[in-house]
Symmetry: none
Subunit: 220 residues, 4 copies
Amino acid sequence: MLGCCSTTTDEKPISRKQREFARREQEILAAAVSLFENPHWETVTVEQIAKKAEIGKGTVYKHFTCKDDIYANISTGFMTRILTAYRIHDERTEIIDAIKEIISTSFEMFLGNPAEARVSFYCKRGDFRERLTPELKAEFEMLDEQFTGYIGTILQKGINQGLLPNKPVEHLMMGLEATFDGAIGSIWNGDINCPQVEDQETYITIISEYMVAGLVGLKK
Amino acid sequence: MLGCCSTTTDEKPISRKQREFARREQEILAAAVSLFENPHWETVTVEQIAKKAEIGKGTVYKHFTCKDDIYANISTGFMTRILTAYRIHDERTEIIDAIKEIISTSFEMFLGNPAEARVSFYCKRGDFRERLTPELKAEFEMLDEQFTGYIGTILQKGINQGLLPNKPVEHLMMGLEATFDGAIGSIWNGDINCPQVEDQETYITIISEYMVAGLVGLKK
Amino acid sequence: MLGCCSTTTDEKPISRKQREFARREQEILAAAVSLFENPHWETVTVEQIAKKAEIGKGTVYKHFTCKDDIYANISTGFMTRILTAYRIHDERTEIIDAIKEIISTSFEMFLGNPAEARVSFYCKRGDFRERLTPELKAEFEMLDEQFTGYIGTILQKGINQGLLPNKPVEHLMMGLEATFDGAIGSIWNGDINCPQVEDQETYITIISEYMVAGLVGLKK
Amino acid sequence: MLGCCSTTTDEKPISRKQREFARREQEILAAAVSLFENPHWETVTVEQIAKKAEIGKGTVYKHFTCKDDIYANISTGFMTRILTAYRIHDERTEIIDAIKEIISTSFEMFLGNPAEARVSFYCKRGDFRERLTPELKAEFEMLDEQFTGYIGTILQKGINQGLLPNKPVEHLMMGLEATFDGAIGSIWNGDINCPQVEDQETYITIISEYMVAGLVGLKK
DNA sequence: CATGAATGAGTCTTCATTCAT
DNA sequence: TATGAATGAAGACTCATTCAT
């Protein structure tokens, strides 16, 4: 009945009222996301979200047990959408292209949805996960697995085809993830990190090439 | 004359009292650092710092104009120490080894001083830098330049020796920095990112190799 | 919608809850006023007001955006009451009597409601007005106009009837206001100013006569 | 030895050191006055005064027991200077002119020395006087008496000459003082009180005329 | 005497969460 | 179910005054 309900498969959507209630949940999340767009997203208050969603503050708590619950739902929703975006290009047979596709899709999703991406970053923190209810925790773990599973499969194919170094896929993924996370962080926070670069796009190109190079280069 | 005074070269530390005052400043910073060790470092209050340093709250404000001033001083101090650590191995002639040295030194410094490192990360944020006084801003910029200067010189040598791709050193640095930042972030935040890894050391080894590979691999 | 709402004409006070909320606002103001009674009124804290009103500190901020907002509402409320008090005697035809009536009503209101009067004095300060929201600023200006309008009309009649000197009513008002303000200030602050006087009433009589004399005396 | 010492007649100014000490006191007061020039004078801190006087904060407390003591000394000094200014025109024989002279001198002194005047206003407050040491209290009382004595004598002459109404001089003074205080207050605080007036000078002229008119007008 | 470092109570304001209607 | 008023702990920062050197 709470935030996480959006992911449970409602077998029998009983009635008008229930549908309305479900829709309200999405409205709250949408309001939150629109407010989180600015870099000081952590300072957005529950009251502001409620106002933006044109509902009462108390109602927010009918849908989400606490503020963290809102964060969590934004994050899981976003992660799900990324997975979906990945799968659109599933048919690619060239492994290296597939990897590049994943990288570029990831950049697109993160930079195109800064609010959700920022929240998702926050939701990766260990201490955040600790605070979560077991249900949400499990949901995050499931999504994490889907990510590693999806990317891991592709990397494994690359290894099998001799395109990538024969190392545990988890290890290969670490470098990718670290570079991606670091790059995104730099873009969000920092004038400091990418000053000589004319624009963001160039930066992303450089980083993307670096990611692939690091992956392939490990081979020897 | 306040916090930042630690960086001015006191030509003649006139008296006992002045020395005591300077020491007190270090005690405050040490207290802050010890408190920032925990992942919730941002929630540490000035009062807690004062209590830890066994002084009154007001005294903290005799040394630092505001909380941000404390952050900034921890960060600049840490950055200075890293630069010093880099330079110890200055005599290395093998470029690739020099790069590896920088990477491992960085990991050692960041993971060995999590509090200061965390704060330094925070101090890289653009909005933080904006809030700073011109003096501190300039100091940060100077340190930033020393970093890019130091690493840039080594990378340039690598390019000249044909060991690294002939690209602007700034571009080469971006990948390195992004991966490093991302890896550090993963370690701090996350159980999520390195689950299959037995220990942190392995993770660092993997990332370090990845960084070098990404650098060298760009060549072709 | 906050503090100032007391002055908007609630067309349909929709519900019990709304009425309760409005009442609470009055209770806060009443608590503040009762606390402002003592001469150190400026040192009264929001917390004290809240405690007196038997509510939480945070609740105060549901009704008033800041401390100044409380001051402003007390002042506008008081000014409105004075205007109402003036108008009770509207039918007077003797101009000099009307003026005396205004003077004595003013003294009664200011001395009978020292807290509100003191705050109102404070709210006349230019720097206070600057800090105000445009809405409150406008409300004050409106009230100021009503005051000058009301008194100005009477003075103008006096001029027309040849009872008062033919000068701009604004000029006539200045002397009145200065004397009144000064007298009130003396009473509030000072043992110093009226020592030989047996009691306050005598002082007021003297000042009132002086005010009228100054007004009429300018004629020649 | 403290602030108030400046008014005791040093019978034997023993030596260099003592003179230096006495001069220091004047420097502190001068620093304070220069700082009190701005309308937010009450927010000036002891530290600011010390810095301006180019001495240590502790030294201030060697000369003045507390902040109020500084206020008091500024006020008594200013009051003394006003009395001196009054007496310059002592030879005037026309009573009405003498009164006008007092009024205009007062305006000149108060508007020409806003810092000292403001402080003096503050020092007239009953609660301020209460906090004072008996010595300072007595000094203020002495000065108050000199004021009432000086002006009272002139007014009495006016009464004797049939120029002023035959009332207790104290009563006559009350109106004058109230108007003067109110006018000064209006000028300091207020955009509100003198809007239609082109400039301050006009306002003062109007008020001055009003004061004389009030005085003389009481006659009948 | 001169100093200025140290103090800590006191200020306003914010906000996630609760709960009665 | 929806609401929004109420809560109160918490936080950054100030400043008159003291006191050891």
